[in-house]
């Protein structure tokens, strides 16, 4: 298992449909958290406790990272380097990032901000992506970074519902990271605490 060069049988056995169904359930929890957070900012209690424009800024930085993740998975998916199982996972993970991005954009708008647009181009290290392993390792690095990024965002929110929603997205990114490590043949959960 540790040295598996391609997608493991375990990962492949789970049908894409059931994976997608599970993912949808997770994300609607995030959606509830975010959408619950936005209106409560308009209340007096929340207004005292937090600055909506500061929270919108945090969400917008996260949104920019989600846009980039969507584009990165697109590069991976179109590389022709991924076998079907890995491609299915990449497309599924990209779908999660799209859902995160949509929700973050909607929430920034609800807070009165202007959501960050995707960049017109991204400078990915495409020259370094020569094999499925390269692509998966690149994706794993981005997902690991995303976990750290959300971890660093959680304590900054004035509104705790938004912090909870960010933590929900963090959990999703951590699962991506773990599965990518697993199919790379690495210890899927190398630490007890993420940083």
């Amino acid at each position: 298992m540790r040295k598996s060069p391609s997608v493991s049988p375990t990962a492949a056995r789970v049908s894409r449909r059931s994976l997608l169904a599970g993912g949808g359930a997770t994300l609607s929890a995030a959606a509830i958290g975010l959408l619950a957070g936005a209106p409560s900012l308009l209340g007096a209690r929340a207004a005292r406790a937090s600055d909506p424009s500061a929270d919108a800024r945090i969400l917008n930085t996260a949104l920019a990272a989600e846009h980039e993740a969507v584009a990165a998975y697109q590069v991976g998916a179109e590389s022709g380097l991924l076998a079907k199982d890995a491609l299915d996972l990449a497309v599924q993970f990209q779908g999660h990032h799209k859902e995160h991005a949509e929700l973050l954009a909607r929430t920034v708008r609800a807070l009165g901000g202007a959501p960050a647009d995707p960049r017109s181009e991204y400078a990915f290290p495409v020259d370094q992506l020569q094999s499925q392993t390269d692509v998966l390792r690149f994706a794993a690095g981005l997902e690991k970074g995303a976990v750290s990024a959300y971890l660093g965002a959680v304590p900054l929110f004035g509104n705790r519902d938004l912090a909870k929603a960010a933590a929900s997205i963090l959990g999703d990114e951590a699962m991506h990271w773990s599965v990518l490590r697993y199919i790379l043949g690495e210890n899927p959960v190398p630490v007890a605490f993420v940083s």
């Binding site: 800024r57 400078a123 370094q128 390792r137 900054l156």
Partner: protein, 140 residues
């Protein structure tokens, strides 16, 4: 692709421990510090690369650079007007608490509370962001 980007990718993807070991010139303490710092830099990889702009600006050439001065990068006014010049001390203060040190920054990230992790990271940054390693003049 620009060479800076390629170099950043090389540092990010491959052989970095080897590079660090070489840079340490056989000094195991220094090599361990650079390795540890490279690992702390993983926390930055959602938003930054050494060689190219992402959610955050490229880090190549960071030391001695005025904050908010990478051409074409859409900085916050807060960063652009901060008057900071990046070096070990300003980085230590910023990375401990980015929004505390530069209120209004778009780097909405809580920072690195552990002093050791910060100093390892700053040692790694000083190494990896040297223009001779990541700039246009760097060997591919």
């Amino acid at each position: 692709m620009r060479r800076g980007a390629v170099c950043g990718a090389v540092l990010a993807l491959a052989g970095v421990a080897f590079v660090a070991a070489l840079a340490a010139g056989g000094d195991p303490t220094r090599a361990a510090e650079l390795d540890a710092g490279r690992e702390v830099y993983d926390r930055c990889l959602a938003c930054h690369a050494i060689g190219y702009d992402r959610v955050g600006p490229r880090h190549c050439g960071l030391f001695g650079r005025r904050a908010g001065s990478v051409p074409g990068f859409p900085y916050s006014d807060a960063m652009r007007r901060s008057g900071i010049v990046w070096g070990p001390e300003s980085l230590d203060a910023f990375l401990r608490d980015p929004p505390g040190f530069v209120p209004g920054t778009h780097m909405t990230w809580a920072g690195i509370p552990e002093p050791d992790a910060r100093s390892q990271l700053i040692a790694w940054l000083a190494f990896a962001t040297a223009p001779s390693r990541c700039g246009p003049a760097a060997a591919p």
